[in-house]
């Protein structure tokens, strides 16, 4: 595997061997994301290093189609960043995704690897976009006017928080802060 793919797909050498694993094994595919050797783990607090080896593929919402190894490879970013791949520009130490907010023309970019979990992510987004709303974003709070969605590798829009953090950072391509009234309707219609 090219080193530039490995830069984002952690533990690349192990992952490579998984691509060609027969998916008919008892339905469970070990991504080999043995998190102890993840080189970005310095960014995560130990409290968030939920080791769920073996549980990863049990997650019902997971759309990790490992057989789509071509999809994985197409996500590699050349070191000179010649191609703009929506969302994930990455190298060894970061993975930037675009964040847009309904009603705001200009987007921002954040590195998901800067965070150890969803609450940390919500804080950064509050910092960046909170001033756009009188009462702040208050993401993940039920009384909030806003919801956070992400586009995954299959280009599906999903609510942020539906999968464990470690899985999220592997598949998030883009983020959107949507107004609850219109955001949910438009996003859910794209769910398949």
């Amino acid at each position: 595997m090219e080193s530039n793919t490995s830069s984002f797909l952690l533990n690349s050498s192990t992952l490579h061997s998984v691509f060609y694993q027969d998916k008919q094994d008892d339905g469970i595919i070990d991504l080999g994301l043995s998190l102890g050797t993840v080189h970005h783990e310095a960014y995560h607090s130990s409290a968030n290093r939920m080791v769920y080896d073996g549980d990863l593929m049990d997650w019902p919402h997971s759309n990790l189609n490992i057989k789509n190894s071509s999809t994985m490879h197409s996500r590699s970013v050349p070191e000179n960043f010649d191609e703009e791949i929506e969302g994930v520009q990455s190298n060894e130490r970061w993975a930037y995704v675009k964040v847009n907010m309904d009603g705001v023309t200009i987007g921002r970019k954040i590195s998901v690897l800067d965070h150890g979990g969803y609450s940390s992510l919500a804080l950064q987004l509050e910092d960046m976009f909170g001033s756009q709303s009188g009462s702040g974003l208050r993401l993940f709070q039920s009384e909030s006017e806003y919801s956070l969605f992400y586009k995954d590798r299959q280009d599906h829009w999903r609510p942020v928080g539906d999968v464990p953090w470690k899985e999220f950072i592997e598949c998030v391509k883009r983020l959107r802060i949507a107004r609850k009234n219109d955001g949910i309707v438009s996003c859910s219609s794209r769910y398949t």
Binding site: D82, I106, G107, M128
Partner: protein
């Protein structure tokens, strides 16, 4: 540059960092852009430097490492006023 009568062209490769680029823009257009802050956007200014990337999306200048920015930036636009709301925190 919002409000300017014509476009300017610059070569990003001439600059080594955001500070150099922003200084050049300030000189070119005779304005103050201020300092980048992840939280407040550009402090001390009513202007926000933005760029169009290869996907056609408009983003705030400064969020990503310089080298990454240079390869993805197709066009620059210095926004002013209400459109820059939340991206520039005033004078």
């Amino acid at each position: 540059m919002d409000g300017a009568p014509y476009l300017r062209k610059i070569d990003l490769r001439v600059y080594g960092a955001y500070t150099q680029l922003l200084k050049a823009l300030e000189n070119m257009f005779k304005l103050t852009i201020g300092e980048y802050s992840e939280k407040e956007g550009y402090k001390g200014s009513e202007y926000a430097p933005t760029y169009e990337d290869k996907d056609g999306d408009w983003m705030l200048v400064g969020d990503v490492p310089w080298d990454m920015f240079v390869t993805s930036c197709k066009r620059l636009r210095i926004m002013k006023g209400s459109e820059a709301r939340g991206l520039a925190s005033g004078v």
